[in-house]
Each structure stands twice: as structure tokens, then as C-alpha cells.
Amino acid sequence: MAAHSGRNWAGLMFLCLLFVSVAASSNVEDQVGGFFKSGHTNNWAVLVCTSRFWFNYRHIANTLSVYRSVKRLGIPDSQIILMLADDMACNPRNPRPATVFNNANQHINVYGDNVEVDYRGYEVTVENFIRVLTGRLPPSTPRSKRLLTDDRSNVLVYMTGHGGEGFLKFQDAEEISNVELADAFQQMWQKNRYHEILFMIDTCQAVSMYHKFYSPNVIGIGSAQVGEDSLSHHVDPSIGVYIIDRYTYYLLEFLETVTPDSKKTLADLFRVCPKRVCVSTPGVRTDLFTRDPNTVLITDFFGSVRNVEITTETITLKRNDTAQLCSGSSCPGSRRGKRRKKLAYANQFPVEAAYEEEVTKPQWHFPMYFVAALSVFFITVVSAFRI
């Protein structure tokens, strides 16, 4: 009787172990499978603040706060395009120079040594923004100002400023319309410049900006419906202006709880800032998005989670001494017998050569006939007055 029960227990144990191992293996597979479900390999962010002047401090603070979160979650500066239309940190009206705060308690300085602004001041124009998105920049544009995305890039586009129905104001001088923005995204799609886009906009009547989108794999989140104003959160009396907008304030509160390995999904993001705290009603557009937002991780857009493939093959790298250490004629394979000219620095000021050959003698002399004519003239004059 005891032997039978022992065998039963072992069998049960074995079964349990099998079950656990199967379950465990399926968990790993799920995990591994989860790596490849999202389909993107790199993350980019385009963060745009379109307002200038001191009283629009909150828009700069909005953008810088999102920048901070995005960097914290792993997107490197080389993959963030930060466009700020004005400089609040060094504004003469800033009572705390070189700082930008998004909270009256001034806990976090969102402007520090580690902020890389790519487009600043008057460079933030509609033209530059669309050129950045579509990649049609002049050849002299440096890499830090280019959006070098490919068809496996997830792009977060965050815009803030003053907007209206169907447009967003840039710099108090021009505006971008929702049609232009939709066309820009379509150009990106046609040039395979994105895998998925998360478009967030915090302005008045924000949702009108994503109404015209027609490209696939785009999610739009707006902070206010058409006809509603997106309001600012609070004023900092020591700085003197409103320093953050409501939607972004609650967005930040939410993002501060997100870590790089967080499992929070876009569905949680859509619930940020309900009407009772935001006063305006945020809107969402997911009809162009192929995946279910409930399964999309926040870090798919806000973080930069890199997929790593582990391989078990080994590769041996050959030591390449000769290529690194030889130079000139000592390299094997170079032409023998060719005498190399001794190299020297070019003369920095070639004009010196001209100075060295001083004008020792003038190259122009009085022509003889001129001297003769002059003397004739003088003689004529003198004789005319002697008479």
C-alpha cells in the first residue's frame, strides 16, 4: 500500500513538474513572442512647442516635461527632435535663470545641463517642422536636426501651443492646418518613415488636428474637443505665469509612474485626465491603428525598448595588425619605389608671399610726352602772363 502511494506521489510530482515546465516554457515563449509582436525596432520622438513669449511659459514647460519623461524611459537625444519656439530659461523675466519648472513646488527643473534643443527660437517654423517629418531637409542639415526614421520606427509626436479648429499657431506668425499635418504623415508613410505614430496634442480644440489623418498606424490623442479650450493647471506666483497645462500635468503624473519595464498599456494612457480634472474632454482616435490599444505598451512609444537577439554561434575576429600599424610605403602591397613628397602645412596666409616681394621699384613711370606737355603748358602760361 505504501509503495503504491509512493509511486502515485512520484507520478503526481512528475506530472506537476511537467506541467510547471510546460507552463514555464510557454511563459518564456510568450515572453519571447512578445518581443516580436510590436514590430518596431527603434523609437523616435518629435516634441514641438510652437509658442513664444513669456506668458506662454507653460507650453515650453509642457514640452520639456514630456522630453524629460521620454528621455528617462530610454529614448536617447540622438533620436529626439526637440523644437522650442522660445527660450524661457534664459529669458530676462525668469526669476530663476537657467531653470524651467513645471510645478509650483519647483521640485523638478526640467531644463538642465542635459537638455538638447534641436530647433530653437525662430527655427521653429511650419516649414521646418514638415521638413523634419518628411525628411526633405537641405543637405547641410546636421544629423541632430534630422528625423532619421525607417519603417521599423515608432514615432511619438507631441505638439503644444495655441490652436484652433483645424490649425495650430506657430510663433504667432503662421499656422499649420490639420490637412497639412495629415499630408505630412502620409508622405512619411509613403517613404516608409514610420512603423507606428502616436500623435499627442495639447492645445485648444486639439482633436480637430487629427480629424484629417488618413495614413495607417496612427493614433491621435487630443486634450480638448472641438469647441472646448484646453486649460492651464496652476500659476506659480513666484514666476508669475501659468507653468503647466492640465492635460500635460496629469499626463506627467501618469508617466512618472511608468518605468522602462512597465506593462501599462495605451488604454491606461487614454484614461489620463478625465473631464472632472481636465475640465476639457480629451479625445482619442484609434480607427487607423491596426493593433488593439489594450495590448500596446506605453513603452512602445514613450520608451526605447530594444529587442536583443541572442545567438549561440561564435565568431572569431582576426587580428588586423598590419592594416592598423603600417603607413605609406611600409605597407605590403603599396607601390614600391615611389618617393613620397615630404608633407608640410600649407601657408595659412598666402598673402605673405606677395608681401615678401616688396615693390622695390614702381611699375609706373611718368610718360615722357606727359612731362613734355606739362612743361609746354607751364611755359605757355608763364609767358602769357609775362606779356
Partner: protein
């Protein structure tokens, strides 16, 4: 028995009076001190003293281009006449230190010429008064000129030229305005002496050097015709007309001579476009003390020729109405023209106006009828002081703008114009009082108020 005639034929050198020695010494000393100070470099670039035509910087550029065998007139930088260029080239080749001595000499000779102009014009005024005294009213004895009154005029003129801070600064800046003043003073002297050959040569040299003295021919021709014809001068008289034509012909003949001479060094007439063409077309619109630049910077190209004609006509046109009004007073006309060209020329400097100022003492007898003297003096002083200040504010500090500077230029021009019109008014009024007594009354015994219409 042959000793006495020879002694008479030897030229008599008058001893130089003490006052003149002091004036010469002080004037030349001030110039020498300023030239050798560190301010000389700053003065050379001052736009009030050196225009694109007269600037020393451009002259050195032209001389060095000549050294390299390139004609300075090929570019757009050098605008002085070839003969002056040749002269300075010779001097610079002999010894570099001759240049300051040259400019000192130029001012010295100009001062002497102005002095001689003073003596000759005073003598001419006395002679004319002697001839016309029979037309004057008996009450105007007090207004007549006396030799004693006019004794100090040449000294005053010399002092007014040599001790004028504008000419001192202009000389220290090595500006060829001094040379321009020299030839104009020469023209004035030759004109008053009445010798047609000399007068036409002098006006030809003056108009060769600075373009605007071409208009001097008219008063000079009238003066010479009046001298020749005496009281029978009239524009309708064929003899008078012949005389006028002869003077004009002589002027253009001498001018042609000078142009032919200038053709020879480079074998081309390029210099004509660079000198005359530059002054007449005024292409350089860098700010200066003139009236042209501000208008022409804002003008549409379409209208440029029209406005150029208007401005240049404005500079020369006044000779005609003045010739009609002042037909009996060609010397005064000539002196007024010196002042008019100093205001309205395309690139004036302080030196041009200073020459006119030094001619004023000879008309000192008119000053008591001048009404705006205080205003004119104040405006002169303000504009001379404020011009460099507002230039500095505009260009260096950026807190003023072109309007400020041009306003000062306008004030400067207005001061000169007020001076000219006031002088003309005073002169004509004095003539009127000479003929009608110092306090003329109309029929009912009320005093007449004089106005210049």
C-alpha cells in the same frame, strides 16, 4: 644815370605786418600740431572732412595702385583728378614727409590768396562806390564805405580762413578739399584782377578740379565785360556779347588744354567718368554732409535720373536769377556762388563751407542789415558739434538712425542757406538804402518796411 629806373623796376616786397605773422604762425602751428597728433588718423576717416572725392585714404589707395602699374581710374574707388594724382605721386616718391608739408603749403597759399582777394575786392568796392556815388541819396553818407573801414578786411579774411577750426581739421585730415579751396580762391583772385587770360585759366583750373565752378564763368565774364565796356555794358550790345563769348571761349579752351594734359598719363579719358562723372552722377551713397545720399538711398531706380537732374540743376541753377538781379555786382554774385556750391554740391565737406565763411568779412558792411545772424550762428555750431555725435550714436551705438544724422545735415544746409539768403537780402537792402537814404519814408511820412520778395 641808369640806376634809378632799375631800382624802380625791381619788385617791391612789402614787409609782412605783425598781425599777419601771428595769424600765419598760429594757423600753421595748429595744423602741424593736429597733423602730428594721434587724432590725424581719426580725422582722415571723418566723413565730414573727407568725401569720396577728397579723402586721403582713397588718395593713398590710388598712389599705391599707380605703384603697381594699375590705373586708379579703372575701379570705382579713386575720384581725384589726374594732375593732382601726378603731383602727389611725385611728392610721395621724393620723400614721404613732403605730404604734410604740401598740405600746409596749400593752406598757406590759400590764405595768402584769400588775403589778396580781400585787398582787391575792397579796392574794387571803393572804386565802384566812387563811380556810383552820384546815384546815391545825400542821406546815405553814413553808409558809404571808407578805406579805414576796409583796412582790416584782408587780415580778417586771412584769419577767418587760417584760424577756422574747420579748415584746420580739414588740413590735418590731408583732405584735398584744401586743394579745391586753393583753386577756387585762385579763381576769385584772378577774376577780381580782371585779366581775361588769367581769369579764364583760373576758372578752368577750378572747374577742372571741382566740377561746380563751371558756373563761375558767368559772373567772371560779366565782370570782365563790364571792365572792358565801362558803363556801356548791356546784354544786347554786340561788343559786350563778344566779350562774354571770348571769356567763355577762353575758359573752355583752357579746360580743353587741361583735359588733354590729363589724357596723357594713362592714354585714356577714363578719368573723366571717375571724376566728373562721379560728381555729377553721385553713385556713392555713403552718408556725408550733403543732401543727395538720403534721397537717393530710398529712391526707385526708375526715377533716379530724374531726381539726379533735379538735384544737380538745383546746385547750378541759381547762377541765372542771381546774374539777372546782381548784374551790377558780379563780385558779390561770384562770392555767393562759392557759398551756393558749397551747400548744394553732391559731396560737400566742411572745408568748402569754410572758404565761403572766410569770404564774409569783405561784405561786413552788410551785416547790420542781416536779420538771422544769431540763428545762423547757432545752427552752424549745433550742426558742426552734433554731426559727429549723431554719427557715432547711429553707427556705433545703434541707438540713433539715419534720420538723426540726416537731420543734422539738413540743419547744416539750412544754416548755410539762411546765411546766403540773409547776406543777399542785406546786400540788396544796403543798395536800396544807398539810393534812397537810410530811413526812407513814403509819401505820408511813414517809414517803409523792407522785405525781400
Amino acid at each position: 644815370m641808369s640806376a634809378e629806373p632799375r631800382a624802380e623796376q625791381r619788385p617791391q616786397f612789402r614787409p609782412v605786418p605783425k598781425a599777419l605773422k601771428y595769424i600765419f604762425g598760429l594757423g600753421l602751428g595748429a595744423r602741424a600740431v593736429l597733423m602730428s597728433s594721434h587724432l590725424a588718423g581719426w580725422l582722415q576717416d571723418r566723413l565730414e572732412l573727407a568725401s569720396p572725392v577728397t579723402s586721403w585714404t582713397r588718395m593713398t589707395e590710388g598712389l599705391s595702385l599707380l605703384d603697381h602699374g594699375i590705373s586708379p581710374y579703372e575701379g570705382d574707388m579713386f575720384h581725384e583728378t589726374p594732375l593732382v594724382l601726378m603731383l602727389l605721386y611725385c611728392l610721395s616718391k621724393i620723400w614721404g614727409g613732403l605730404i604734410p608739408i604740401f598740405f600746409l603749403l596749400v593752406d598757406l597759399v590759400t590764405g595768402c590768396l584769400v588775403h589778396e582777394v580781400g585787398t582787391n575786392v575792397c579796392r574794387h568796392l571803393l572804386e565802384k562806390q566812387g563811380r556810383h556815388v552820384k546815384f546815391y541819396s545825400t542821406d546815405s553818407l553814413s553808409l558809404l564805405l571808407t578805406g579805414k573801414q576796409l583796412n582790416s578786411v584782408p587780415r580778417l579774411m586771412l584769419g577767418a580762413y587760417l584760424l577756422n577750426p574747420l579748415t584746420i581739421a580739414s588740413c590735418a585730415a590731408y583732405s584735398t578739399t584744401g586743394l579745391h579751396s586753393l583753386v577756387i580762391a585762385g579763381a576769385l583772385l584772378a577774376a577780381v584782377q580782371g585779366n581775361r587770360l588769367l581769369a579764364t585759366l583760373a576758372t578752368a583750373v577750378a572747374s577742372y578740379q571741382c566740377v561746380y565752378p563751371e558756373i563761375f564763368i558767368i559772373p567772371v565774364a560779366m565782370y570782365i565785360a563790364q571792365l572792358e565796356q565801362g558803363g556801356r555794358f548791356s546784354f544786347r550790345d554786340p561788343d559786350s556779347r563778344l566779350s562774354l563769348l571770348q571769356t567763355a571761349g577762353g575758359h573752355f579752351a583752357w579746360l580743353g588744354f587741361l583735359w588733354a594734359l590729363s589724357f596723357l598719363p594713362f592714354g585714356s579719358m577714363d578719368w573723366l567718368y571717375s571724376t566728373r562723372g562721379f560728381v555729377m552722377l553721385a553713385p556713392d551713397l555713403t552718408p556725408n554732409m550733403g543732401l543727395f545720399w538720403y534721397f537717393f538711398t530710398e529712391m526707385f531706380e526708375h526715377f533716379r535720373i530724374f531726381f539726379l537732374c533735379v538735384f544737380q540743376l538745383n546746385a547750378v541753377f541759381y547762377v541765372i536769377p542771381l546774374a539777372v538781379k546782381l548784374r551790377d555786382h558780379p563780385m558779390f554774385h561770384l562770392h555767393l556762388l562759392v557759398g551756393l556750391t558749397a551747400v548744394f554740391k553732391s559731396y560737400p565737406t566742411f572745408g568748402d563751407a569754410a572758404l565761403f565763411l572766410s569770404l564774409l568779412p569783405v561784405w561786413g558792411h552788410c551785416f547790420k542789415y542781416m536779420r538771422n545772424l544769431f540763428l545762423v550762428v547757432c545752427m552752424w555750431l549745433y550742426s558742426i558739434v552734433l554731426a559727429p555725435v549723431l554719427w557715432h550714436l547711429w553707427i556705433y551705438y545703434g541707438s540713433a538712425n539715419a534720420n538723426f544724422f540726416y537731420a543734422v545735415t539738413l540743419a547744416y544746409a539750412t544754416a548755410q542757406i539762411f546765411l546766403l539768403t540773409d547776406l543777399l537780402y542785406a546786400f540788396l537792402r544796403r543798395e536800396f538804402h544807398l539810393r534812397h537814404g537810410p530811413a526812407p519814408k513814403e509819401g505820408q511820412g511813414m517809414p517803409i518796411l523792407m522785405n525781400l520778395k
